[in-house]
C-alpha cells in the first residue's frame, strides 16, 4: 500500500513553564494531540511516533510567559495519500450507489457508482449485496472484502478519501494477488512487506494507542492476508 512513510524529524517543542515538573509526560501529551490529524509541516497524518530528547538543556524564550524550547528527535509514521496512489482498505458498506471503505482503521473512503468500472455489476445474492465482475466470476466485492483502490482526492480535515475502482489494478486484493502473473506493470514485491501484512489484520480498533500500531507491525509479520 502506498501512502505510508516513516520520517525522521528534528523537532523543537516549546513548553509552558507549568509543565516543567514532568517534561516527558508533557512531550508525549503534545505529540499525542497531533495524532490522527493532518499536519501541514509533516505533510501527512501522524499515526505513530517515537521520540527522544536530544539535549537536557533547553533555551528559555524571553517574553511574558517564559516558555522553554526542547530539541527532540522523533521517528514519525505518516500517512499522506495523494491522487493516483493505490490504497487498501476494508469494505464496511455496500450499496448500488456506493462502496464505503475504511483504511487503516481510521480513515473513511467512498467509491461512488460512477467510479466503479463497468466490469462490476451490482447484485443481490442470498440477501447479500455485492459487486461481481462480469469477466471473472471469482472476483467479488462484498462487505468485509479487502480491496485495493485508487485515490482521487483526500480531504485533509476529515481524512476522507474519494476513491475509484476504474483502473484495472483495483478490486479485491485476494483476487488481484492470485492473478499477479498476468500483471506486469505493478511490482508487488517492491511494496513493503510489513505494510501489506499489517493491513491483512482485522481493522485496528479506534481506541488503539499510537504505540500499539508499532507493536502491531512488528507482531504481524508472520500473519497472512485474511479476509
Amino acid at each position: 500500500m502506498e501512502g505510508l512513510s516513516v520520517a525522521d524529524a528534528n523537532l523543537v517543542m516549546y513548553l509552558h513553564p507549568s509543565k516543567s515538573r514532568n517534561v516527558s509526560q508533557s512531550i508525549l501529551r503534545e505529540l499525542g494531540s497531533l495524532l490522527f490529524k493532518f499536519n501541514e509541516t509533516f505533510d501527512g497524518v501522524l499515526l505513530a511516533y517515537d521520540v527522544n530528547i536530544l539535549d537536557k538543556q533547553a533555551k528559555i524564550l524571553s517574553g511574558v510567559h517564559p516558555y522553554f524550547g526542547l530539541r527532540l528527535k522523533a521517528n514519525l509514521l505518516l500517512f499522506s495519500p495523494k491522487p493516483d496512489m493505490l490504497l487498501e482498505g476494508k469494505v464496511v458498506k455496500l450499496s448500488q450507489e456506493s462502496i464505503h471503505v475504511i483504511v487503516l482503521g481510521f480513515s473513511s473512503a467512498i467509491i461512488t457508482a460512477e467510479n466503479i468500472r463497468g466490469e462490476f455489476k451490482y447484485r443481490t445474492k442470498d440477501k447479500e449485496e455485492l459487486f461481481a465482475s462480469k469477466s471473472h466470476k471469482r472476483h467479488v466485492i462484498k462487505v468485509g472484502t479487502m480491496i485495493r483502490f485508487l485515490v482521487k482526492s483526500f480531504d485533509e480535515e476529515i481524512l476522507h478519501i474519494i476513491g475509484s475502482l476504474i483502473s484495472a489494478h483495483t478490486g479485491s486484493i485476494r483476487w488481484l494477488d492470485r492473478h499477479l502473473e498476468e500483471d506486469s506493470e505493478f511490482d508487488r514485491s517492491s511494496m513493503k512487506s510489513r505494510d501489506r501484512e499489517w493491513l491483512g489484520d482485522k481493522t485496528v480498533d479506534e481506541g488503539a494507542t499510537p504505540m500499539s500500531y508499532d507493536n502491531h507491525i512488528k507482531m504481524s509479520k508472520k500473519r497472512r492476508i485474511t479476509e
Binding site: F36, V92, K93, S95, Q96, E97, S98, H100, I102, G105, F106, S107, S108, I110, T112, A113, E114, D155, E157, I158, L159, H160, I162, E206, G207
Partner: protein, 629 residues
C-alpha cells in the same frame, strides 16, 4: 394547499404506488442534475417539499417520506454549491415535527449524506445535535405523554444515527465531541434547553460511542454545574445572624416552617425559602438530579468505577478550584454513596493525599481538608474503620508538623496546620461516639491528638471557636482528656484568629457537605446523610424526645439507608428508627408542637450502660438556622 407536487412521470393517483424505488431515485437524480444545466423547476419542487413541515395531510407526509428516501439514494448527486438551498432545507429540519416514518427517512438521509463526503460530516452531525432540543413550541409539551413519546422516538433515532455514522467514519466521534461541546446552551438560555441537552450528553456517555467521548462529556457537564453553582451568590444563602453557631439546629426540613406561626422564625432568612424562586437554583437542581440518575444507571451497568475516575479528575480540576462550591460537590457524594468501599474510600484518599502534598498550593490543601472533614462527618455510608484510618492519617501529619515546627501561635504562618486540626476536631464532633466505644482507637488516635492540641502552636485557640467549643465539651463528657486552660468563647462562631488562618477565602468556615439546600437533590442525598441531630453528642444527657406515643418526632428519615458494616453508631440509630416507624406527616406535626425548653430525662445514660433504646435528641428551638456559612 398551495404546494405543487413534483411531476413524477405519468403520475396518476392510482399509479403512484407502481414506481419502484430506483425509478424514484433516478428521477430525483435527474432533478438534481438539471440544476447544473440551468433548469431549476423539478429541483425547486423538491426543495418545496422539504420546507413544508407544519400540519401535513397524510398524502403530504407520504410524499415527504418518499422524497427523503429517494434523496438518501441520490446523495452522490448532491453538490454542495449548486444544491445549497436543498441542503440548508434538509439541515433545518427538526425530527420533533414529524412522526416515526418520516423521522426514520430523515435519519437515513442524514447518515447517507454524512458518510458520502467529508464536507457534509460536520453539517450532518450539527443537524443531529440540534435535534437534541425540541423546537421552542414543543418545550412545554415535554412533560405530557404525547411529548414524552415523541422525545423517546426522536432521541433514539438521533443516537442510533451517531452510531451508524461512527461505524462508517471512525473519526466521527471526535468531531461529534467538538460539536456537542460547542453547542451546549448557555445557562442564560430562557427556554431551559440545557436540561434536555445534558440529558442527551449523558445518553451519549452511556451509549455505544461512550467509550470514545464519555470522559470529555462528563467533565463538560461538571463544568456547567459549577458555572451554575457560581451564579448562585452566597448572599442568597447566608443567614443574617452570625451569632448562631454551627451546631445549632440544622435546616432539615423547612417546608413546614414557612406556614408556621412561630414568631421567632421570621427573624432568620431561611435559605431554602429564598432559593425557592431562584431559577438558576432550580436549573442546577434539575441538572444534579439528572446526573444522580445517570450515576445510578452507571452503577447498575457496573461502570461506576471507571466513570468515577473521570469524576475524580473533574473534581480536582473544576470543583476543588472553584471558590467555595455550594452544591456541585454532591455529585461526588452521591457517587461515593453508590459504592462506599471503592469510590467512597478513593475520594477520601484523594483528598487526604492532596492535603499532605507540600507541592500543592495552600488554598488547595486547605480546601481539600475541608472537603475531607465535611465528607467524613456527613457520609452515613462510611465504615468506622475508614473514618478512623483517615483521621489517623490527619493526626499523624499534624503531629509530625508540630514536631518539625517549634514556633508559637501564628495563624498566618501555619494555615494548613490549623485547617488540619480544625478538620480533625470537626469530624470528632460528629463521630465521637464511635471512638469512645472502641478502646483501641482511643489510644491510637487520641493520645497523639492530645499532643497536637496541647502544643505551643495552640490550635485550640486559633481554630473556629464553635468547633473547638463543641469538641471540648464532647471530649470532656467522654472523659477523653481535659485541657488546663478554659476557653471562653461566649458562643462565638468565629474569632479574629480563626479569620486570620482562614485568610481572604475564609476557608475556616467552609463546610462543603452541609445539608443540600436544593430540594430535589436533597431527597436523593438525605438517606445517606448524617444530620447533626442524628448525632448523639456525648454530653447531651439533658435531651429528651417528646411523649412516647408521639415517638416519631425524633426520627424523620423515611427510609433508612442500611449500612451493612458493624458501625456502632449506625447500628444504634438503626434500632431506634425501626422502633419508631417514622412518617413525614408525624414529623411535621411534631415540629409544630415543639416545646422551647428541653425536658429533663433520665432515659438515656451516657455511655450506653443502660440498654434503653437510643433516643434522638429533640429539637431545642423551633427556629432553625442553616448550619454553616
Amino acid at each position: 394547499m398551495g404546494l405543487e407536487l413534483p411531476k413524477y412521470p405519468e403520475m396518476e393517483e392510482d399509479q403512484v404506488f407502481n414506481f419502484t424505488d430506483s425509478e424514484i431515485v433516478s428521477h430525483v437524480k435527474q432533478a438534481l442534475a438539471s440544476v447544473l444545466s440551468g433548469d431549476n423547476n423539478s429541483y425547486n419542487q423538491l426543495v418545496g417539499v422539504m420546507h413544508h413541515s407544519k400540519h401535513l395531510a397524510p398524502d403530504e407526509v407520504a410524499l415527504l417520506e418518499t422524497t427523503l428516501k429517494a434523496l438518501a439514494g441520490a446523495v452522490s448527486s448532491i453538490d454542495i454549491t449548486y444544491h445549497d438551498s436543498l441542503l440548508s432545507a434538509i439541515f433545518c429540519m427538526s425530527m420533533w415535527n414529524y412522526g416515526p416514518h418520516v423521522a426514520d427517512a430523515l435519519a437515513e438521509l442524514i447518515v447517507s449524506l454524512a458518510i458520502s463526503n467529508g464536507k457534509y460530516l460536520d453539517l450532518c452531525l450539527g443537524m443531529l445535535v440540534s435535534n437534541f432540543t425540541p423546537p421552542p413550541y414543543f418545550l412545554d409539551k415535554l412533560k405530557m405523554p404525547h411529548g414524552l413519546e415523541r422525545k423517546g422516538q426522536v432521541l433514539s433515532r438521533v443516537h442510533a444515527a451517531f452510531k451508524k455514522i461512527a461505524d462508517y467514519v471512525p473519526l466521527a466521534p471526535l468531531r461529534l465531541l467538538t460539536i456537542v461541546l460547542q453547542g451546549m446552551p448557555t445557562i442564560y438560555h430562557k427556554d431551559r434547553a440545557i436540561v434536555i441537552y445534558v440529558e442527551n450528553m449523558l445518553k451519549l456517555e452511556s451509549g455505544e460511542i461512550g467509550e470514545l467521548v464519555g470522559s470529555t462529556i462528563l467533565m463538560a457537564v461538571v463544568d456547567r454545574l459549577i458555572e451554575l453553582d457560581v451564579e448562585i451568590g452566597w448572599d442568597a444563602i447566608l443567614q443574617d445572624d452570625f451569632s448562631k453557631g454551627i451546631f445549632e439546629m440544622e435546616l432539615e426540613d423547612v417546608d413546614d416552617i414557612e406556614e408556621s406561626a412561630e414568631p421567632d422564625v421570621g427573624e432568620f432568612r431561611l435559605s431554602r425559602k429564598s432559593l425557592a424562586g431562584n431559577s438558576i437554583a432550580e436549573l442546577l437542581d434539575n441538572l444534579l438530579v439528572l446526573t444522580f440518575e445517570h450515576l445510578e444507571s452507571c452503577e447498575r451497568e457496573g461502570r461506576l468505577a471507571k466513570v468515577f475516575e473521570t469524576l475524580l479528575q473533574s473534581f480536582q480540576v473544576t470543583v476543588l478550584s472553584a471558590y467555595k462550591s455550594k452544591f456541585a460537590q454532591f455529585v461526588m457524594f452521591y457517587a461515593c454513596a453508590l459504592d462506599p468501599e471503592n469510590c467512597g474510600m478513593r475520594f477520601a484518599t484523594m483528598l487526604a493525599d492532596l492535603f499532605v502534598q507540600d507541592s500543592q498550593p495552600q488554598p488547595t490543601r486547605m480546601s481539600a481538608v475541608s472537603y475531607l472533614a465535611s465528607y467524613l462527618s456527613r457520609a452515613k455510608f462510611l465504615a468506622a474503620s475508614s473514618i478512623s484510618s483517615m483521621l489517623k492519617r490527619l493526626v499523624d501529619w499534624c503531629l509530625e508538623y508540630c514536631e518539625a515546627h517549634d514556633g508559637d501561635i501564628n495563624p498566618n504562618a501555619h494555615r494548613v496546620f490549623y485547617s488540619g486540626c480544625q478538620a480533625i476536631m470537626y469530624v470528632l464532633c460528629f463521630r465521637m461516639k464511635v471512638f469512645v466505644d472502641v478502646p483501641r482507637l482511643k489510644s491510637e488516635l487520641l493520645i497523639p491528638l492530645e499532643q497536637v492540641l496541647k502544643h505551643k502552636l495552640n490550635p485550640l485557640k486559633v481554630c473556629l471557636p464553635s468547633v473547638v467549643e463543641e469538641f471540648l465539651r464532647q471530649a470532656k463528657a467522654a472523659s477523653l482528656f481535659t485541657v488546663c486552660k478554659t476557653f471562653i468563647f461566649d458562643g462565638l462562631l468565629e474569632s479574629e484568629l480563626s479569620r486570620a488562618f482562614g485568610g481572604l477565602e475564609r476557608l475556616d468556615t467552609f463546610f462543603p457537605f452541609d445539608p443540600c439546600l436544593l430540594k430535589k437533590c436533597d431527597s436523593f442525598i438525605r438517606p445517606m446523610f448524617v444530620f447533626w441531630s442524628m448525632v448523639k453528642p456525648t454530653h447531651d444527657d439533658a435531651f429528651d424526645d417528646d411523649d412516647d406515643d408521639d415517638g416519631s418526632s425524633d426520627d424523620y428519615l423515611v427510609q433508612d439507608f442500611v449500612n451493612e458494616n458493624e458501625d456502632i453508631m449506625n447500628d444504634e440509630f438503626g434500632k431506634s428508627f425501626d422502633e419508631q416507624g417514622v412518617d413525614m406527616d408525624d414529623f411535621d406535626y411534631a415540629l409544630k408542637k415543639m416545646s422551647i425548653t428541653p425536658k429533663a430525662t433520665s432515659n438515656y445514660k451516657f455511655g450506653g450502660r443502660f440498654q434503653e433504646p437510643a433516643r434522638m435528641p429533640s429539637r431545642i428551638r423551633p427556629s432553625t438556622s442553616p448550619e454553616s456559612l
